[in-house]
């Protein structure tokens, strides 16, 4: 069931569009913000509000990079692996993060704190290599600084 706050947030998204379906992607993003990821239940809760089928919502949730159909940790660590960051050492950064967090790409730490993913070009190429933790972006010129950056996110 949608909570009252969720219902309010979703209604706000729908107000910007001439029909309900158009708000579907914004609504999925908002629901994910509220619940962390998009479970089957989340899709079922949302479908009647948008007058869409669960399958139509699943088609969207499995298409867009920022939507998660599996549980993720409290914080998303996304290492940019696109070309400018790759030239500037994204591979070593990614390896260091896997070692530091003790997870493979796509994995979540045992304490549920971090999920490690790659990111598509974050548009910060003059500061490469770059990673994002949730909505914050960090330029990492020295892998030794990783601990400090991770420590900012409990």
């Amino acid at each position: 069931m949608l909570s009252e706050q969720e219902h309010e947030a979703l209604t706000e998204e729908m107000a910007r569009y001439p029909n309900r379906r158009a708000a579907s992607i914004d609504c999925l993003v908002r629901l994910q913000q509220s619940r962390g990821w998009l479970s089957d239940e989340a899709l079922s809760d949302l479908a009647p509000l948008l007058d869409m089928s669960v399958h139509e919502l699943d088609a969207l949730a499995t298409f867009y990079n920022r939507l998660h159909r599996r549980p993720v940790g409290r914080h998303l660590v996304r290492v940019c692996d696109s070309v400018s960051c790759w030239i500037m050492g994204a591979d070593s950064l990614c390896e260091a993060l896997q070692k530091r967090l003790g997870v493979e790409l796509g994995g979540t730490t045992g304490d549920g704190r971090f999920t490690l993913l790659t990111a598509q070009c974050l548009g910060n190429c003059d500061r490469a290599p770059v990673l994002a933790i949730d909505d914050e972006q960090y330029a990492i010129s020295d892998i030794a600084d990783l601990d400090e950056v991770l420590a900012r996110h409990d």
């Binding site: 939507l67 070309v83 330029a139």
Partner: protein, 439 residues
Amino acid sequence: MTEQTTGQTTGQKTGQETPLTARIDRERGPLGLSAYRRGGGYQAADEALQGMSPEDVRDRVTESNLRGRGGAGFPTGKKWSFVPQGDDAPRPKYLVVNADEMEPGTFKDRLLLEGDPHQMIEGVILSAYAIGASQAYIFLRGEYVTAADVLRRAIAEAEDDGLLGDDIGGSGFDLKVHLHMSAGRYICGEETALLSALEGHRAIPRTKPPYPQAAGLWGHPTVVNNVETLCNVPHIIKQGADWFRSLSRTEDGGTKLYGASGRVRRPGLWELPMGTTAREILEQHAGGMQDGYRFRGLLPGGGSTDFIVEQDLDLPLDFSGLSKAGSRLGTGTMIILDDHTCPVGMCLNLERFFAQESCGWCTPCRDGLPYVAETLAAIEAGRGRPGDLDLLEQHTRLLGMGNTFCAHAPGAMEPLQSALRHFRDDFERHIREARCPYR
């Protein structure tokens, strides 16, 4: 050194006119509405809505030779001219801002969005007025949260000031601006895929014709313009088409935000006259290569442009100049390949990106790009076979323009086809020695 990224580059210390970035100061932050006005902002919008017809605005932009800054370079005035006008034109009409900056190696629109939101909103007002659009959507990539905050604030200020809303300044012109945060997919940058996403579908491109100007968002007349394109419009209206053309060193009007990333001394962004050469940007603005690194080639405007090499560096970076080198301007943000970086590995990185970001709609792109990426992965891992380069070359044609539903796969083939030409020895050596010589 690690610090939170806020962006750090503008290009003002060049001694030339820099209309797009003149008001941008990353330390100070973006100007609010009243400060923007004090610097002459919104004069163009006020004057146009009071004293110019939409046709006058379209004509001035056409005369300025402004071409789209998103990568394709289509003349902006001409794009607008296909929108049906007159009382019987379908309504509402839409203006959509393509702020889905996801081209690998591209970080220019972020500066304009975060640094001077009112400049873009003024561009939106003028452009919407020119085509008769009463609704505008800003399609912003989900990662640009700073830009989203800055834009929301600026839109609210403009609404409070009566610059957006109904009957703006008593002109009879109405405009509502909405912000859509993308859920993330490279193909959303393709204008018809973007419209699919805005309507709440998977971002699958549409057949053209009909072009969006005739039947776009929800089947209504729609223009999709890039952020940098729109930011030029207030300056053109205010200072005229002749002035705008005079900023450029070539036929294509205006300045251009050029950028450089990779192993250069000072990676960054600079607003320079259109038609500046890659050599000038590389050597003067980016400070040349880092110590111990030699230049081998560059992608002039993002991941989907052809490599150019040393002999091409004196060509003007504009919409036609690079065709002599078999390349194109794209987004104008260059990615530099150095002599310690493997060209095969770089192509692999790019093709993996394009394979992952294919929307999957048409078979050549959905199946061909992973095949290309896997072939490159095998070569890079020392498992390449003698026929592989012919196979790759064949695919650059099979996935080329005309064989796919949209320009995604053809764009993906641009760096590869040019790398096979310019860095052939590297590819052959990988196969001959059964290893990557750069490791």
